[in-house]
């Protein structure tokens, strides 16, 4: 293992566990400033996690082991998913490989666990939220897979290390397919992170909730795991966006520096989108995601028309 790989592994763990809450915190902070409010500090999610960690849990009745295992399952899948994502084109072999398709599966598994938990307790808002989440998830997963397929066309591999290495080359951006994939991935990020216009993370209105709904029943440490998982999801997708789409020089340190610059930039982009766009009507969201699928299909067509190998 080279020093770069070891360092990448450290960033993977440290970033996912310790830096991740800073991302939604920064988005919330910037959003408040854009709206003319002082807003919470970017560190607010850490305070929330500390508060929840000290609180005792309240468990609904009736419930089964499905409800109890969901927070650990969600947190576990996201931790493993974070270990798949390379940092600066490097990643140690944790024994799980770096296949993008595994990542798609892990994200789906986390979603499945929380939907099952909502079903287990049978709370109306949990079920409504989970139902909406799954309704969106079907096209979101399809688009994410298509993005992976489009990106895998030049290298013929869905390995994230290979895909990340490809992005460091200038040639990648000479392909229209790469641009299309970037656009579609942007839609995936909005949907996966539950941000406006897909979902409103700030809402207190139970009837409009998507991702928040199934979390309503949880309290204490269980909720802390789930809140951390939301932050980890931000980390994974925003790091992935950087690794797959941001052009950068080859050396490892330069790549890490790019990542350090790109993450705050993504936070700004999310805050601006969330401030300028109202939340969509709930049944229009699949149409938005469908647009992402159409873009990917155009990318595939363009690749073949241009005679890609």
């Amino acid at each position: 293992m080279t020093a770069a790989t070891a360092a990448a592994g450290a960033v993977q763990l440290l970033g996912c566990v310790a830096v991740a809450p800073l991302l939604p915190g920064t988005v919330q902070h910037l959003k408040a400033r854009l709206q003319g409010r002082p807003g919470p500090s970017p560190l607010q999610p850490y305070r929330e996690l500390r508060r929840l960690w000290r609180k005792s849990g309240v468990a609904p009745q009736p419930r089964t082991v499905i409800y109890e295992l969901a927070p650990a399952t969600v947190a576990g899948t996201l931790l493993i998913a974070a270990l798949l994502v390379p940092i600066g084109g490097h990643a140690p072999d944790w024994g799980i490989g770096h296949d993008a398709l595994v990542l798609v599966g892990l994200l789906a598994l986390g979603r499945f666990a929380i939907a099952l938990a909502a079903w287990d307790t049978g709370g109306a808002f949990g079920l409504i939220g989970a139902a909406r989440d799954l309704t969106f998830a079907v096209p979101v997963e399809a688009v994410l897979l298509l993005v992976v397929v489009v990106l895998a066309l030049p290298s013929g591999s869905t390995d994230l290390l290979a895909l990340s290495a490809l992005a460091t080359t200038a040639e990648a951006w000479s392909e229209p397919a790469h641009w299309a994939a970037a656009l579609a991935f942007g839609i995936v990020v909005l949907a996966e992170l539950g941000r406006q216009p897909v979902d409103n993370p700030d809402t207190h209105l139970e009837l409009t909730m998507v991702h928040e709904g199934p979390l309503l029943e949880y309290a204490g440490r269980d909720l802390a795991y789930l809140q951390w998982a939301v932050a980890a999801r931000h980390w994974i997708l925003l790091v992935l966006a950087t690794e797959l789409f941001v052009p950068r020089p080859e050396p490892f340190l330069a790549q890490v520096a790019t990542l350090a610059g790109a993450l705050p930039t993504w936070c700004v982009v999310l805050a601006v989108v969330e401030t300028t766009q109202a939340k969509m009507r709930v049944l229009r969201v699949p149409v938005l995601i469908g647009t992402g699928a159409a873009i990917c299909l155009l990318a595939l067509i363009s690749w073949h028309v241009r005679g890609g190998a």
Partner: protein
């Protein structure tokens, strides 16, 4: 828009009262309805023994008509088949005073919360239909209200409401107090409509005491009412923007509302204009410099509103959420007795301000949107155009600083009188019964009370996720319907 010369088309005296026997209740109500009078409320009050006094208020451009009926058997024929607007009133009179309304079937409980689910909800049958219950405890800071939806997936089939979670006893507490105290009780029904309820109560008491306001008193009360409308409408537009997560609109209109509330504080000493209305006169006399400054600030508010409104109009992601959601048709609005911006947005060109002889609205004409579609977009547009109208009224009334006003005796006293005032949410009716100078009864039927049934009617056919938005577009109050 100047005050009418005192006495020329002066304030009407107390309401015309028709007293009927229980058997004559329904025919008398139906006759009033057939004559073109609009239903404006039905109130019950206990009398000695088992008897209950029922009073129905009908409003005509010439004044209010009250049909009164003492029923020892506590039973009259229902009018709900002809006047669906009276449905909540009859249900309330039944739950509070045990009056049976023969022919009102099923007479679902309204205030009575002990009833089984099947008794107070409308049955829905069919494949995949299920219930979603929301409240009375909500995830945010929202008043207690229980909403029970029947849905298929995201589609709402029907909605049942259960409000009345607080026992306030305002009307009971007011009974027996001196007439001067009545306003204190009416005002506390609801903070956002405090001036409206106060003025309605003041007008009713003054009509009963045979008093008429002078020009200064009319002007002062009109200024207060319009200040209340301006900050409420600004708030409601902000709330609709916040309901769809459109932060720029929500923040900008919230800032305008804050500015107007600070003006309220400077002009009348209270951000919600509490304590600014009293019986028989007005002490509102702000300094000339404050009034001139307020007038300038209101003009700026109007300009900023116009600019912001144009921006909202061209914000596609916002407009997409508002169109064709929560539609209240014109005929339904008429039938259900909808009032205020909700009724005007559905095309009913009707506003108590145009017939308020005890206020200073000379030549007032109600406005409606160009296309009164009765949806969320129309209700928001309605508020935007009413804002311009209210700011114009204020600009004219504040040309000179308000001076203390008073009343003078114009006619005989009456035991029962009615005051009707247009609140930011619609027509508010206040009926008082005086025994000398003491209150024998005080009844308040606010614009919110009148509009809740219309909200229930506007919801089916929309998506569950859109309900909070539809609710905000009506922006009804929970507290002032509590009994």
């Amino acid at each position: 828009m100047t005050a009418r010369p005192d006495g020329a088309s002066g304030p009407r005296s107390a309401a015309a009262i028709t007293r009927v026997a229980p058997a004559g209740w329904r025919p008398a109500c139906l006759r009033a309805h057939a004559d073109g009078a609009r239903f404006a409320g039905l109130f019950g009050a206990p009398r000695g023994g088992r008897a209950v006094e029922l009073r129905a208020v009908f409003s005509t451009p010439a004044g209010e008509r009250v049909i009164a009926c003492e029923t020892p058997e506590r039973a009259v024929e229902s009018v709900v088949d002809v006047l669906p607007a009276a449905a909540w009133d009859e249900r309330e009179a039944h739950d509070l005073h045990g009056v049976r309304f023969v022919g009102h079937e099923p007479l679902r409980p309204l205030l009575d919360h002990d009833a089984a689910l099947e008794r107070w909800t409308v049955p829905v049958a069919g494949r995949d239909a299920h219930q979603v219950a929301v409240g009375p405890v909500h995830a945010g800071v929202i008043e207690s209200g229980h909403f029970r939806f029947h849905v298929v997936g995201e589609l709402i089939l029907s909605l049942d409401l259960r409000l009345f979670y607080k026992r306030r006893g305002l009307e009971a507490a007011a009974t027996g107090r001196p007439a001067e105290d009545a306003i204190a009780y009416a005002q506390r029904a609801c903070a956002a409509c405090a001036v409206t309820s106060s003025v309605a109560c003041a007008q009713a008491c003054e009509a009963a005491l045979g008093l008429a306001p002078d020009d200064e008193l009319r002007r002062a009360r009109t200024v207060l009412l319009e200040l209340e409308r301006v900050y409420n409408h600004l708030h409601d537009i902000s709330a609709i923007c916040a309901g769809v997560g459109f932060a720029p609109g929500a923040a900008a209109y919230a800032a305008l509302k804050e500015r107007v509330q600070r003006l309220n504080l400077r002009l009348a000493g209270h951000r919600f204009l509490f304590g600014s209305v009293r019986l028989g006169g007005s002490d509102l006399a702000p300094a000339a410099a404050d009034v001139a400054d307020a007038r300038a600030q209101l003009r700026t508010t109007g300009d900023e509103h116009a600019a912001l409104w144009r921006q909202l109009h061209f914000s596609r992601s916002l407009q997409e959420r508002l169109d064709a959601v929560g539609v209240l048709g014109r005929d339904d609005a008429e039938r259900l007795g909808a009032v205020g911006p909700a009724a005007r947005a559905a095309g009913l060109r009707r506003d108590v301000r145009s017939e308020s002889t005890r206020l200073c609205y000379g030549g007032f004409a109600p406005v409606t949107p160009a296309v009164p579609a009765g949806d969320v977009a129309s209700r928001m547009t309605q508020r935007a155009i009413e804002l311009e109208q209210s700011l114009a009224v204020l600009d004219e009334l504040l040309a000179d600083p308000p001076a203390p006003g008073r009343t003078r005796a114009i006619g005989p006293t009456a035991a029962v009188a009615v005051g009707r005032v247009e609140s930011p949410r619609g027509a508010t009716t206040c009926l008082v019964e005086l025994d000398g100078r003491r209150l024998r009864a005080l009844h308040l039927r606010t614009g919110s009370y009148a509009n809740w049934p219309s909200l229930v009617h506007a919801v089916p056919g929309s998506l569950l996720a859109d309900f909070p938005l539809i609710n905000k577009s009506f922006e009804l109050c929970y507290a002032c319907v509590d009994r």
